[in-house]
Symmetry: C2
Amino acid sequence: MFRPEIKVLDCTIRDGGLMNNWQFSDEFVRDVFNALCDAGIDYMEIGYKSSEKAFSRKENGPWKFCDEESLKRIVGDRKGNIKLSAMADIGRIEPDDILPKEQSLLDMIRVACYINQVDKAIWLAEHCMDKGYEATINLMAVSTVLERDLDEALSDLAKSKVKVVYLVDSFGSMYCEQIEYLARKYRSNLPDKTIGIHAHNNMQLAFSNTITAIIENCNFLDATLLGIGRGAGNCPLELLMSFLKNPKFKIRPILQVIEKHLIPMQKQIPWGYYIPYMLAGAKNQHPRVSMKWVESDKRDNIVEFYDMMLDTLDV
Amino acid sequence: MFRPEIKVLDCTIRDGGLMNNWQFSDEFVRDVFNALCDAGIDYMEIGYKSSEKAFSRKENGPWKFCDEESLKRIVGDRKGNIKLSAMADIGRIEPDDILPKEQSLLDMIRVACYINQVDKAIWLAEHCMDKGYEATINLMAVSTVLERDLDEALSDLAKSKVKVVYLVDSFGSMYCEQIEYLARKYRSNLPDKTIGIHAHNNMQLAFSNTITAIIENCNFLDATLLGIGRGAGNCPLELLMSFLKNPKFKIRPILQVIEKHLIPMQKQIPWGYYIPYMLAGAKNQHPRVSMKWVESDKRDNIVEFYDMMLDTLDV
């Protein structure tokens, strides 16, 4: 029943770190790493690869930078049974920040970009491939993109060397119908590429949209432990594993790290479904206004939020 | 974009009452009723119609019985813009407990049954129709039913007078593939009936499975405010309204009652996605063991729950 081509990527540290500026303890990151290894997960995205010039070390923990020393502290000599990935944002990294692969514990760089940055993203991803890494391009916020512009971007991507292109539902605003439509478009415009899916949970659809993408032959799947992530969070890894029937997966190590770290953490920094995120998703808006609201003492004043949203966002 | 045949049924009081033995204040029930009226929802399921002989009034609040006096206290003279429904469980009600429609504020009786009770359910539903009510049959726990038995039940239902038959995912164990398959089977075996969907949220799929059912032409849709319900809960009404584009729907009254009542209530009696419910869903088990665990002081010991489940449930 399982499809051997499918690769599961856990981005707990990278995407979860958006909530706390990557201020995770080494113990936490190490326990996540070991759990993912034991569970048979294919990739762990351990953070962002960012330029030291673009962000301060004071405000951001080590996983905003993913230098080799930090990676070594976590991985020790266990490396081998899981691939490590880092994400690079266009404009927040210099080509020279990427070491030659032989000098790095990273296996893959995922380049995140908006539609107007696709050419830069292709350049950077190919630069990473030339240095020996696997590379993907994650085209963000496509729910706000005019279709002719998307077609042009896909046409450029089709001509590139990059092998994996992600369909990203940045605002958690898509229903299965949009995922199905876009996955088919990506597949037909990029016949030689693998398509990935990265979903957000604003409308409780991250897991089901990932299933829809699987049915539409997307083979790179993003998830996080207990769905940790900014705002409403991501597709929960434990759910995704329950759907995929790959016999190499083991759920128990995942439950162990969720019990030890994620359940206590969610009581400190809450994430998950909540009305302000749902309204942002339903209106195809960036969740930043919702996040600010939920972090304020007006958290539970959802009617006021709704009225404010109608007034200020003109939706 | 909307489909006028679709009817939305809110079962906040009936299904949510499974959590607190229907001990809701009159103020709560009245505010829910008014919000649903103002929002343009088609049906409100206000509780169970049960025999006084089958359940004690001491342990159960008024919405386990739905006598006319209780209904009158809530509805006042507002009746007219929403239909009221009550659920009847086979074996927990006598035919004489159903008043002639002229003497009741109820419009619809939904008969819930297991596969071996279908003949009794048809009898009771037709009895209700003869007394002037709309009636549905909600066939529970079909995820554990042998297909030949389901076919036989559907064949009996096809011959009945009952106009609406529900596909019920009692254990929250179905993915979109199962919903699609069963919805098509119900539709083709019951060509003259309307098919309904009642989903549970164990795997965060209640909303998306309801969407799948809509795409498969199911036209009676169950939901609850903020997804309230036993264990992981139900399809959230606010999400369903965001997907349906019926111009008569108004979301603001729904947000008002969620803010006033549901958000505070969820802090007292929690419901929603949690690992023990997810494991029960993934293993196609009744959630009762999970609910007991989550209510105990072992709530967060999810690895121990998993081990116990493997041992005792042999799944």
